[in-house]
Symmetry: C2
Subunit: 253 residues, 2 copies
């Protein structure tokens, strides 16, 4: 049985905040959460992590380049906002219909390089993705280990759109102590036949499951998932990086 | 709190089988499932539905066209398998590296038009997607209403790869009584600011959550999800069709 419960009452996060004790306190306040176990997974919407790491840009301090000004004109956007997106991108894959599809410096392909204005406490600020989300996850996990008797796995998420489907789903951008992919390729199925294409993006499915438990107004960035112990590892492991499809395999970039 | 539990002991499904009573019996056998409620969601891997609807092709009865033979040669595949994929497709978007990315007759963009050999009880058969998955979901829901005192929502899923990420995730291909998308665009967030791009593919996230509860060897095609009542509707509604991005909006086809 898989369960997901959102943690109540995390405060607004500011640069320099230590997330781990805030998460422990929130869990103590949340009905059905209680103490953490090594088999638990904490799923954190990246904005809380980004804010704690000071990944904030003030529009007033951004000087747009000619490229940003030209793109902004074409996309009907604020040139300073476009500049921040360019700063976060290694490549722009598409720029049309008001949207920029970017490859971030991490290698994520997503709209606007994950740069987001919504839910910022200040309307003139933009929030960017953590610089190294896997390292962020490892850091939070290590701090939780110091603070509690448990070492839950950590998953950091963002909401991504999809090329061919409407709506967004939460996906993994960083993790620690979680096997992001489960590989059943070549193993026999129930009928004894070899399963051919069963390589499951477990971390992305867990990201989406956690999002379903959350209130959407931004006050519940953290959800606790239980029942995923099959995918949880004592070692921090390679994080979410294995989820990235290398450009050489990409049929659509 | 969101919970997902796989139902135990569904038999191998054959063409003509009535799924609804098999699901009711499986739920009765499953610890933690019990009777269905109107607020429940049953998530069904499409193969069980496809088999019950006889959506099975025998390779021995397939006569490949010259186009299938040419594609099969280029992709190093069985020409009869390629022919079945072509039969299920309205368009082939990419054909390279052994994979065909297709637009199915329903409009889904996915590898091999959802045609799958794995888990078939006979090695010379292929299983195709249900012809009208939303209608399949409505039919199963209506049958459950006849058999029980409840009308749970129904979600039919398949595993899709993604253009830019490794691994597959389960997504919605049909549903009844479930709002596939939740639209928060234009609503205020916790800080009172308008949220700009918050349009959530709830049905896809529910598909992934259910998959996490399932054994992967194919013996647990049905999972029961509770805690999603916010997305469940008395009316069957428009199904999963609203999840399809129309070609006119597509930046990557």
């Amino acid at each position: 049985v898989l369960t997901a419960v959102a943690l109540d009452g995390l405060p607004e996060i500011a640069p320099g905040d230590d997330l781990a004790p805030l998460i422990v306190e929130a869990a103590a306040r949340t009905r059905g959460a209680g103490e953490f176990h090594d088999s638990d997974l904490l799923v954190i919407a990246h904005k809380a992590v980004s804010k704690s790491e000071g990944r904030i840009r003030r529009l007033g301090e951004v000087e747009p380049t000619p490229r940003a000004i030209e793109l902004a004109r074409r996309l009907d956007k604020d040139p300073r906002h476009v500049q921040v997106v360019l700063d976060e991108s290694r490549e722009i894959v598409r720029a049309s219909r008001g949207v920029m599809i970017c490859v971030t410096h991490h290698g994520f392909v997503c709209a606007n390089a994950g740069v987001d204005a919504s839910n910022a406490s200040d309307p003139d600020t933009l929030i960017t993705l953590p610089q190294q989300p896997d390292a962020s996850a490892r850091h939070i996990r290590a701090r939780l280990k110091e603070l509690t008797r448990a070492t839950p796995a950590i998953l950091i998420t963002d909401s991504f759109g999809r090329a061919w489907r409407h709506g967004q789903v939460d996906v993994a951008i960083g993790c620690a102590g979680l096997s992001a992919l489960e590989d059943w390729r070549g193993l026999p199925d129930a009928a004894g036949r070899t399963m051919r294409a069963t390589w499951i993006a477990v971390a992305d499915q867990l990201a989406g499951a956690a999002d379903l438990a959350r209130a959407k107004d931004g006050r519940q960035p953290v959800a606790l998932v239980r029942g995923a112990e099959r995918h949880i590892t004592a070692a921090d492991g390679p994080g979410a990086a294995p989820l990235l499809r290398p450009e050489a395999e990409d049929l659509f970039r």
